[in-house]
């Protein structure tokens, strides 16, 4: 009887073990089948990464740049890939993963040797160091236009980036990078992006970049989301609100509607960071009414950002200084000149001080002309493109 019971237990154990093995084998095979042409000879094994053979060698050579260079130059594709993976794991412990860029000079070796399937395998392997995956993502992004094989298969690679995004348990670093690197967004991505935006499983960084991606595809849907964020700003993170405010000018042709939205946030916040975001958002609109909003609320904003705002909106402010404008518009513009008395305002001030029939405008313009001479700064034309 005892023998029978032991036999039965062993039998069950055997079946269970073989089932687990078959499941494991199945899932690996299934993955490889999906990827089809992964060159398992090239991609690093976890056992090899753990040994740190190449990393230890690099550490011995670390004080001699030439020796280190020679060592890395002489590595074949497989060993270079392994060296990067080993080093990534060690650098993660030191919180110094940006140092991986030292390998940039040698990674040309991967071109025409690694396929899109190999890169996909690396990104999907949950055991590989995260920074190794990020490094390889940036490598593909940098070379995709130059490498014919990559260019041809980039749609397949982008499909995998979407898979990485949909899988909620992936690290947010991979998800953010995927959102940035997908370069063929279309209408079919709207549901995926909306799901990300409404889910609690994604970080605010991921959601912010998802909102940016959504804006590229469908401005109307994106605007609904942005409007919801603005109307319910207390329910969203500062970062989500920042991105929403930042995207407003890209979505709405109607400047007044954007200004009204921003005013809504302005009424309900005293948060310093959000006030900065409001200046940046209004700075993009470049409309006299946005200038008015800023001047009417100037006590709320940091002096330095007010100066920057005048720089951003030089073209709008310059038009507001036209002598045939109504006095209230000219006065708002003169307040802007007082904040940042750029040389370029001098011409309009000269006209106002000599020809304006309004005494106070005339005097103010005259006073500001002197201020311009003292300030001696030119505006930054880069802001016209902001």
């Amino acid at each position: 009887m005892k023998k029978k019971i032991i036999g039965a237990i062993l039998g069950v154990l055997l079946i269970t073990t073989s089932t687990i093995e078959s499941i494991t084998v199945f899932s690996q095979e299934q993955f490889i089948e999906e990827s089809q042409q992964v060159n398992m000879e090239l991609v690093p094994t976890l056992e090899c990464i753990d040994k740190k053979t190449h990393f230890n060698q690099l550490m011995k050579l670390k004080n001699n740049k030439d020796d280190m260079d020679e060592y890395l130059q002489n590595l074949n594709t497989k060993d270079l890939l392994l060296t990067i993976a080993e080093t990534a794991e060690e650098l993660e412990k030191l919180n110094s993963t940006s140092d991986l860029s030292i390998f940039n000079s040698y990674t040309d070796k991967f071109i025409n040797k690694l396929s899109i399937d190999d890169y996909t395998y690396i990104l999907n392997n949950k055991e590989y160091p995260l920074s190794f995956k990020c490094f390889m993502m940036d490598f593909v992004n940098y070379h995709k236009e130059k490498d014919k094989s990559m260019k041809t298969n980039i749609k397949k690679y982008n499909k995998n980036l979407r898979k990485l995004l949909k899988s909620k348990d992936n690290d947010s670093k991979l998800q953010v990078r995927s959102l940035i690197l997908i370069d063929d967004y279309d209408k079919n991505d709207i549901t995926m992006l909306e799901n990300i935006l409404s889910s609690d499983d994604y970080t605010d960084r991921v959601k912010g970049y998802a909102l940016k991606a959504l804006t590229k595809i469908d401005k109307d849907i994106s605007y609904k989301k942005i409007k919801h964020i603005i109307d319910n700003s207390n329910k969203y993170s500062k970062f989500e609100l920042r991105i929403a405010l930042d995207l407003l000018d890209e979505i709405k042709n109607d400047s007044q509607e954007s200004i009204d939205n921003i005013n809504e946030v302005l009424k309900n916040t005293k948060d310093k960071e959000t006030l900065d975001d409001i200046i940046w958002a209004l700075g993009k609109i470049k409309h006299p009414n946005s200038v008015k909003t800023i001047i009417e609320n100037k006590e709320l904003f940091r002096e330095q950002l007010l100066k920057l705002y005048v720089n951003m909106n030089y073209l709008a402010i310059d038009k507001m200084l036209n002598i045939d404008n109504d006095p209230s518009t000219i006065n708002i513009a003169l307040e802007c000149v007082e904040i940042s008395p750029f040389k370029e305002f001098a011409e309009k001030l000269e006209i106002l001080s000599s020809k304006s029939e309004n005494k106070s405008i005339k005097e103010k313009a005259n006073e500001l002309q002197k201020k311009i001479d003292g300030y001696n700064k030119q505006r930054n034309k880069h802001w016209d493109y902001y």
Binding site: K62, N63, K65, M68, L94, N95, S96, T97, S98, D99, L100, S101, I102, N104, S105, L130, S131, C134, F135, D138, F139, N141, Y142, S172, K173, V176, R177, I180, D183, R205, G208, F239, R242, D246, E273, D276, D277, W280, Q304, L305, K307, L308, N311, Y375, K377, N380, H382, Y385, Y386
Partner: protein
């Protein structure tokens, strides 16, 4: 006759002292700083956002690469050496304020690290505004903060005509093989050996 001379003399001393204190008040504000220890042979770049160099803006590691840190956070390890404070002689406090505000915005936008592109983007022409940057490196962070405001750092071509990392065409010259924090520092003027 003597009195007015003394008054003029004292006034001159006062003006001198005020100028000196003004210099010290903004000593390190907006100036690029560097340390070594990046893969042994390279440097790391940052930007001092305070007058005493205790608040530093830089791009480091991967997610939220653009960030604020303190001196220890910038140095990362006691085995790393501070390589100096740099500046551009012709720039004044107003100029540095613009640089710091641009850098501040890059920090607020929490831009990811990019291993290959000092300033990565998807634009095809014109300028790359802070919002349009897709990834950034530490040297790109400093370069962009200066050059968006028209203060040239690294230059190439005839008479240094290729310089603006925030302009799509010039950005192409700012490659990982053309620039590094160490080579960037060589384009700036040396200011001080430490932040004390």
């Amino acid at each position: 006759m003597r009195k007015p001379r003394i008054i003029v003399f004292l006034s001159l001393i006062m003006i001198f002292c005020l100028n000196i204190s003004n210099v010290f008040a903004y000593e390190f504000y907006g100036k690029p700083i560097y340390r070594d220890g990046v893969a042994v042979i390279e440097w790391h770049a940052g930007l001092s956002a305070s007058t005493d160099g205790t608040t530093i803006l830089h791009a480091d590691n991967y997610e939220d690469a653009t960030r604020v840190t303190d001196y220890d956070g910038f140095m990362k390890s006691s085995s790393n050496d501070f390589k100096g404070v740099y500046h551009k002689k012709e720039m004044d406090i107003y100029d540095y304020q613009e640089v710091v505000e641009t850098a501040n915005r890059l920090v607020e936008l929490k831009i990811p690290y990019d291993f290959y592109n000092p300033v990565g983007h998807n634009e095809t022409s014109g300028y790359i505004s802070p919002t349009e940057i897709t990834g950034i490196r530490c040297d790109g962070f400093v370069e962009y903060s200066f050059e968006w405001n028209n203060f040239k750092v690294m230059k190439w071509g005839i008479n240094g005509s290729i310089w603006d990392i925030s302009e799509v065409e010039d950005n192409k010259a700012h490659t990982w093989y053309n620039m590094s924090p160490k080579s960037q520092a060589a384009f700036l003027d040396y200011y001080a050996s430490n932040l004390n």
